[in-house]
């Protein structure tokens, strides 16, 4: 069994992909926290706790939920919106929840605007600019999610959660799999359940390797 753990960074100039370090994806009914397989229920609690601890908890919805390309996507988008509203209701003064879209994966030149969106090729810019210390990816194609999650781990100290509709992401610090409307809403239920029981961090996390 590998000793490698998927932890908030900054980890390395070029961190390895977690899969190459022996981290396995969860089976149905499971999740992973820091690369350790756990029952899914434990992951809901931990994800909710991380959101409530963070100074800038942020949800990054991707194209698979942002675009109403089928009925299920539209329902998931509504669930993500509801999760965000729940988060806003449950945080304490001084915490600043955000909802920043990832509408597509196009390289953005001459520069991206980190206040408007997050781009998978430059996710650290959005994290740094907004001082985001906990984020969740949902509705992002798996390959692009893994790129972003690894770059975030490499250059920032942000805690990453993946709400994946497929097999999950080793490069997130916490990953669900087989995400559905029910699972997105269940995370909201856990946030509500833990409201007032989690002490937020006093200061935002370090946002780059240099500070």
């Amino acid at each position: 069994m590998t000793q490698y753990r998927v932890l908030p960074g900054p980890e390395h100039f070029l961190p390895p992909s977690a899969a190459s370090m022996g981290i396995y994806l969860p089976n149905p009914g499971e999740a992973h926290i820091n690369g350790v397989i756990v029952p899914e229920e434990k992951a809901y609690e931990e994800a909710a706790r991380q959101f409530l601890m963070a100074q800038v908890p942020t949800i990054f919805p991707g194209p698979l939920v942002l675009w109403a390309w089928n009925e299920k996507a539209a329902k998931k988008a509504a669930a993500v919106r509801q999760l965000y509203e729940t988060l806003k209701e449950c945080v304490q003064p001084g915490q600043k929840p955000m909802l920043i879209p990832m509408p597509d994966y196009r390289p953005k030149y001459p520069k991206i605007n980190p206040e408007v969106e997050i781009n998978p090729n430059h996710p650290n810019l959005t994290i740094w600019h907004n001082k985001i210390d906990c984020c969740m990816f949902v509705g992002v194609h798996c390959h692009q999610a893994n790129l972003s999650l690894k770059i975030i781990r490499g250059g920032t100290s942000c805690y990453t959660v993946a709400m994946c509709a497929q097999a999950g992401h080793e490069d997130a610090m916490l990953s669900f799999r087989d995400a559905s409307v029910e699972k997105i809403l269940k995370l909201g239920d856990w946030i509500r359940k833990l409201k007032g029981t989690v002490k937020p961090r006093l200061t935002s996390a370090k946002t780059s390797a240099s500070n």
Binding site: A19, S20, L147, Q166, A167
Partner: protein, 403 residues
Amino acid sequence: MAETKSHIGTQNKKGQTFTDPWQMLHEAPRTPSFYTGSEVIKEALRRASCDVMIAYPITPQSEAAALIGELFAEGYIGDYFRGESEFAVMSQCAGAAFGGARVFTTTAGPGTMRAMENFPMWAGARLPIQMIVTCRGINSPLSIQPDTLEIAYLLNTGMLVWHAETAQDFFDWILKGYMVSEEPDVHLPLALCCDGFFVTHTKDVVNLTPTDMCLPPYDPYRSPVPCMDMECPPVRMMRDPFVMKSNYISYATHASWQQEVWAAVERSRKHTIHWLNGLIDTENTDTEIMIVASGTAVSQGREAIRLLEDEGVRCGLVKVKTLRPWPGEEIREATKNAKHIFVPEFNVTGWLAKEIKATIPNSDRVHAGPHVCGGMTMPPEIIVSEIKTALGMRAESLAGRGS
């Protein structure tokens, strides 16, 4: 994220029933049939719900390619055409896969080498194309005979690489290959290799699944990258690659993309173990002498073991089924008792022995050989001779064999 509409139980236009793949491959009745390897490829494709097959003739895969043309004429393949060259074929395969099709092609020897630029591109674009490689000589002087040198070049492309021993392996692995390579956490091309002629042009009894059952169709919406979006990577990479921008984050993106391909190879391990019942097969792993081989060298090794047993020498066998993912841990475990590890290969460089040496402790245990190449056959007696010589036993000279 796509609507989960199951096709299982429904019928295609040929009246085949889309069947749960595990049930089809493990529980459905099998019919013994006496076929060449090329015919077996055709029969696997009949059941593969393949959308597109693109062909270019090069021996020894041309027979299989032509037979699949018959399948197209019968209506089992969605589209079929001949490319202008092997390079064109592999590029056209990429186009079809970008568009969301289940794609199949066949290749061999120099054609594989000519098309080589496309293989890391397929892997980088996460295209689950299946390519049959019917190995043949690639170096001068030209040979159309089996020689596995081209596999060495495929090992670092990011493709999954499996090496079939028999036509039965071929039939099962073509179908299972799609099940592994199309998993969303894998979604990589598969080079399914065999030793040309020994497998493709030899008749063997192969147990086939019913013709009225077929795999469920490919679902492109489970892809880990958007399919056929000209504005988004990977397609946009081709006219606006990250690396053209000289800054840290562009490099980081490019580097992470490459790492992600190899991460997907690692993720395929779990699915491959499930479908192939392990990455290796073993016999007699308690012995001090082991033969580790892939492809038809496994069959020759098995016969060598029988010959050695007649002389009172006990020997074990490791059949390496997948080269990517590489079964390093499995080989370490299977060879932990071995004092001598012999790696017979049908190529001049001994790429399998090098991989094994890089994997196991005390690698001076590995005897890289015997080697044959250029299409020369490998009689089991030369494996026996190699082993006996290494053990200090008297071995008969085989130099006059065939004269």
